[in-house]
Symmetry: C2
Subunit: 297 residues, 2 copies
């Protein structure tokens, strides 16, 4: 499988890594890039992530057989609107957004007769650091990739989308957009929300800085995702807020159970609740893989 021209709209960490991975796999002849920021466009060119800078998103996608929209979730709809007129019916269009119901709604509102080109995608990969400087051709290797195809996607487009990501080393899973958003509210958006809350709760108290200076490796790993990009996570938490708030309510219930056992000095219930969590986590494997085989990001 080889593409003549990839149009990369949004040349940050996710998009840049996709371009580098395609190049490394010899799967693309030319990468034309556009980013809202002039500085990002220039850096992407200098780093060899893209071969040519396009003057606009609309011009970037002209004659492209593959388009990846890798912009912040809140910019997706405007990007779709900008490229819809110059997209061809033969193009495979994908995104990398962490939420899917809102992206599908944006596509339906803007892509018109090009809607069948769009196969929504979400790679379960990332780093806390943003920016094209951190783009990494291995980012998608040994990672799960969720596709949430639309009813109007032809089998050919879905297969093509599947094959691209598999060629980059991803394990492809298909869900509905609703299943996707419920799943990631639970296992990604909620942990981020809670990590933000915990870091703020500790830092805001009078002795917060002293407390933090003595935090150990447990805190380091627990709070790693709290360093994530504020604009990206603002968009995700707003786009998927119904599901995230539902998951947060479930978390508060589970916290209530533990706190009640502590308050009542009920050691046996407390140990049982911790043992449930401990066993679940000890048996969990990233993407079903042995964690020792998976590179630390």
């Amino acid at each position: 499988m080889k593409f003549e021209k990839l149009a990369l709209i949004g040349c940050g960490l996710m998009g840049g890594s996709f371009a580098l991975a395609l190049k490394k796999a010899g799967m693309v002849n030319q990468v034309v890039g556009f980013s809202a920021s002039e500085g990002t466009r220039q850096r992407a060119l200098e780093l060899g992530v893209i071969d040519v800078i396009a003057p606009s998103a609309a011009e970037a996608v002209q004659d492209a057989d593959l388009v990846l929209v890798a912009v912040p979730v809140s910019a997706t709809q405007a990007t779709f609107a900008a490229i819809a007129p110059t997209l061809s019916a033969q193009t495979l269009l994908m995104d990398v957004g962490s939420t899917k119901c809102d992206v599908v709604a944006a596509a339906m509102a803007t892509l018109g007769e090009r809607l069948p080109c769009f196969v929504p995608a979400h790679p379960i990969a990332g780093k806390e650091v943003a920016g094209v400087e951190h783009a990494d051709p291995e980012l998608y290797q040994n990672r799960q990739l969720i596709l949430t195809p639309l009813p109007c996607n032809g089998l050919r487009k879905i297969t093509q989308a599947h094959n691209v990501w598999e060629a980059l080393g991803s394990q492809v899973i298909t869900l509905t957009p609703e299943e996707h958003d419920a799943t990631f509210a639970a296992v990604s958006h909620l942990p981020h929300l809670v990590a933000f809350a915990l870091v703020n709760a500790v830092a805001q108290q009078p002795d917060g800085a002293d407390h933090l200076s003595m935090a150990g490796p447990g805190f380091r790993d627990f709070s790693r995702i709290a360093a994530s990009d504020p604009a990206v996570w603002r968009d995700i938490l707003l786009a998927n807020r119904t599901q995230v708030l539902l998951q947060s309510a479930l978390l508060r219930q589970a916290l209530d159970q533990l706190e009640t056992a502590m308050t009542e000095g009920d050691a046996s219930t407390l140990e049982q609740l911790i043992a449930q969590a401990s066993q679940t986590r000890a048996e969990w494997r990233l993407g079903g893989l042995d964690p020792d085989l998976v590179t630390q990001p």
Copy 2:
């Protein structure tokens, strides 16, 4: 600094690592060990963590110039009571407990005239896996070590305690027991409590197993501490419950702030709250060290 005889009461991960580290540093002639479990005693001997098995804790500490009590927090008081009659005034006695006010209370209730021997210690180190099999002579290297000396400790004992841990590569910090328990409620006990709650909240819902199968690297790191030993954490959360419940209330307030911004669609407040957390976490360093210099556990 060299000790003639280390008595190790509790030959698990923490105690075993201490014995191995002392041996590696050439700081001890003989390690006599006692554990409640016959199997642990035998494994510790086979693995060379201890040189001799003592028939009881009381007999282990006889003629020992260094005693480390590394038993579950809930067993500390009984252990102190058992060894008090055979301790000598020259002995340096330390523990490795994750809570300090309760350990100090246990010492005051049981050690009698040997109370000045006891310098409470808490190494900020550990692994999710328990047991002497995982004992590691490097466990305490480049880690912080908190001492919470008692008013009755002489300067000689405090200096000796300080020097032992420093020789093992730890950075020694002195706090009051109260400061210690407030600090670790915030940066260790609360993250554990929340990680237990989140894993239970996700696992208990009808699609929990499916959700977990798609969790990524963010979830992996956030939830790593949820795999911790249930008996150990039952004891810690009960021993320090007042401080932990106070910290949990602060967490719920910080969560309320984020959720209100989500519910109200207040993108600017939401981004600001996330940016606070993100900046705090991005600037945080483990023990003030560059995280790249610190080995992943």
